[in-house]
């Protein structure tokens, strides 16, 4: 589906929250690479998609009504074979249905298990006065506890993307700390510029979280994504 089709569908269904699969499709269209993610409405399809994508895989509940998927027992990672996928499918469904009996669950998303890298968050929010603003930071505890992030107002110039990455306190961790691989900073800059160009021409979107993005020595990939549309 194209960006417009995804947005129209959400509008038709009167929701502002996009599913992870929809969010990743939109980001892919914007030129931002995401882990391959597909929807399995049944256990059988989860298995066949896992076979297609290749093990290990990750299964996540796909529901716009469940915001914190991990807390709901809706995420299973590093599933190495068909049996593991089948068990995980049932456990996720049971746990989520148990905790959120009223949630509309469209199925389970199957995605390739990205090899771990430096965790980064890239996001966008729309300010009523300044318009879209991008955020960059290190993921996990760095963003949640320390709020070690940098902002720039859209549209970004190349120098803005570079400066916002250089501005965070934890910059050293991106350069390869204690023998870890460094992050591909030019690639992350490019991601920021692509996101800037995309949100600049897509006014319907209110908020985006790409969290985490795994940054590698070469390249980076969006592992989880969330997109919220503006109220109509």
């Amino acid at each position: 589906m194209t960006v417009n089709e995804i947005i129209s569908l959400a509008r038709k269904e009167k929701r502002t929250v996009l599913t992870e699969i929809e969010a990743k499709q939109i980001l892919q269209e914007a030129g931002i690479s995401c882990t391959e993610t597909k929807l399995a409405p049944t256990r059988e399809q989860a298995v066949s998609l896992s076979n297609e994508i290749g093990y290990p895989v990750v299964l996540k509940v796909s529901s716009v009504d469940i915001t914190h998927k991990s807390d709901a027992g809706g995420v299973k990672v590093n599933l190495k074979d068909q049996a593991a996928v089948e068990t995980a499918y049932d456990e996720i469904m049971n746990s989520c249905r148990g905790q959120f009996p009223d949630a509309n669950i469209e199925g389970i998303s199957v995605q390739g298990m990205a090899k771990s890298g430096i965790e980064v968050i890239i996001g966008m929010t729309k300010d009523p006065s300044f318009g879209p603003v991008l955020m960059f930071g290190l993921g996990g505890v760095f963003v949640e506890v320390l709020k070690d992030v940098a902002f720039r107002i859209v549209p970004l110039e190349k120098s803005d993307a570079n400066q916002m990455i250089n501005e965070i306190q934890g910059k050293k961790l991106l350069e390869g700390y204690r023998g870890q691989d460094p992050a591909d900073i030019p690639f992350l800059e490019d991601m920021l510029l692509k996101l800037s160009a995309f949100v600049d021409k897509t006014p319907e979107i209110k908020e985006i979280d790409m969290n985490p993005v795994f940054a590698y020595k070469e390249g980076a990939v969006v592992v989880d994504a969330r997109i919220i549309l503006d109220d109509e």
């Binding site: 929250v17 915001t67 968050i121 996001g123 966008m124 929010t125 300010d127 006065s129 300044f130 318009g131 603003v133 955020m135 963003v143 949640e144 709020k147 992030v149 940098a150 902002f151 720039r152 107002i153 803005d160 209110k206 908020e207 985006i208 979280d209 969290n211 969330r226 919220i228």
Partner: protein, 460 residues
């Protein structure tokens, strides 16, 4: 369109008064005392003459064209009625000074919207309400009585507040502490906002520095665009109110919950290359440094002091504000050694030389050499309030050296405030940026260096 506010050929004051002390009187008096040489039309149905000007019963009764209308009327309702008259008369620029509009909510807000609607329909630009308009050499519409004429300076101050901007303007003009070109108070910004003024003053050749205070940003997207363009050409100093995060925002994303308005305004300042001030004093101080000193190409500072302990603290402050204190070149050290009998480093401690040849002579022989040193981009000169400092100031020794060498200098004053403030801060302060503390001087210089380096790097 903005020209009508700053260079009108005729101005009408609606709500003019003949009673000294009343706002409608102060405005007419301020216009009369300025260099304004166009037509002045006081409007008041109950007077015949105010300060020698013929008074008109209404705007429509005025025979000629009216470029600018200033209103000081008792209620919002009467003001809205005056707006209708402005439309009838074909006026295109109005300054509404009275308060009681959107800032108090309720009916005030409704009437302000009516005024905006009248303005839009009739292509009228409105400054205010709840403001004091313009203080400049050519016209003063302020509600604060002016005691002197405004300088033909190179600094523009823009304030969202009404009375504060007017009071600051009066202070600055009275003390000649800043070379002001215009002070604009834009109040509720129902129409004319910071972006209009930034764009206008960005294009004025006689304006070198713009310094503004805003309580809220009217249109952030355009501010970012305009400020980027203007700040690349001339320094734009920005003080914003409401800088703390007031409570968490309801957002469905991490990004949305972290990105408070205050963080975004801060980002805008950084991204556009504006200079952030943290206090009204800094708004003025930074403007003083930028308007009187050349831009340095680097951040290498010489510190000239009379006391070693002061040098230590200034060194720390410089490091904290991103300034470096390099060694002087061997050539300079060799020259200075002859005058001091002791090795000289940076900070340059003048004490021994002063005891030998006196302060004025020491300054004349030491300060220029240290400032000229190729390792040095700018200097902090620390002056203490003593009898001999007075002599150096009165002979304008420091001003001469600074002008001759052509590198930026800030002066910080320590001790002797009671007796010598008038000499050092007030007298020397007319020509050079003089600060009452080390930290304020170092901070202002760091902003100058930061901007200078950026501008230097961006030059093709």
């Amino acid at each position: 369109m903005m020209e009508l506010f700053f260079k009108p050929k005729s101005v009408a004051v609606v709500g003019a008064s003949g009673t000294p002390g009343k706002l409608g009187y102060v405005i007419v008096k301020n216009i009369a005392d300025s260099d304004f040489d166009g037509e002045v039309y006081p409007v008041n149905p109950k007077s015949d003459e105010i300060l020698g000007y013929k008074v008109y019963k209404s705007l429509t009764e005025i025979p000629g064209e009216v470029d600018l209308v200033v209103t000081a009327l008792p209620t919002p309702k009467i003001t809205a009625a005056a707006m209708e008259e402005c439309a009838k008369k074909g006026v295109k620029a109005v300054i509404i000074e009275s308060a009681g509009f959107a800032e108090i909510g309720g009916e005030g807000k409704v009437i302000q919207q009516q005024i905006v609607d009248i303005a839009k329909k009739n292509n009228i630009r409105v400054m205010g309400p709840n403001c004091s308009g313009i203080v400049s050499r050519n016209i003063v519409t302020s509600i604060y009585p002016m005691t002197k004429k405004v300088s033909r300076g190179n600094v523009v101050l823009i304030g969202q507040s009404g009375l504060l901007a007017a009071g600051m303007a009066s202070d600055i003009v009275e003390n000649e502490s800043l070379s002001v070109n215009k002070v604009c108070s834009i109040g509720n910004k129902c129409d004319v906002n910071e972006n209009d003024l930034l764009e206008y003053f960005g294009e004025q050749d006689d304006v070198d520095v713009i310094s503004m205070y805003l309580e809220n940003v009217s249109d952030g997207k355009n501010l970012t665009r305009i400020a980027k363009k203007v700040a690349a050409e001339k320094p734009v100093i920005f003080l914003n109110g409401g800088r703390t995060d007031a409570g968490a925002k309801a957002a469905m994303s991490h990004t949305g919950s972290i990105a408070s308005n205050s963080k975004i305004v801060k980002t805008a300042i950084q991204q556009t290359g504006m200079i952030q001030a943290d206090d009204f004093g800094e708004m003025k101080d930074f403007a003083k440094v930028f308007s009187t000193q050349p831009l340095p190409k680097g951040n290498r500072i010489a510190v000239i002091t009379l006391a070693g302990s002061v040098g230590v603290v200034v060194s720390d402050l410089c490091a904290e504000h991103g300034l470096e204190l390099p060694k002087l070149t061997p050539d300079t050290m060799e020259i200075l050694k002859d005058k001091f009998d002791t090795p000289v480093s940076n900070p340059v401690d003048l004490f021994f030389s002063v005891t030998k040849i006196g302060f004025t002579k020491t300054l004349e022989t030491t300060f220029p050499d240290a400032l000229k040193d190729p390792n040095i981009d700018a200097a902090v000169l620390i002056l203490a309030g003593f009898e001999y400092t007075q002599e150096a100031v009165q002979k304008k020794i420091i001003q001469k050296i600074v002008a001759e060498v052509g590198k930026p200098v800030v002066v910080c004053m320590i001790v002797g405030y009671n007796k010598y403030k008038n000499v050092i801060t007030d007298e020397l302060g007319k020509d050079l940026p003089v600060f009452p503390s080390l930290i304020s001087g170092v901070k202002a210089l760091s902003k100058l260096c930061e901007y200078g380096i950026r501008k230097h790097q961006n030059q093709p």
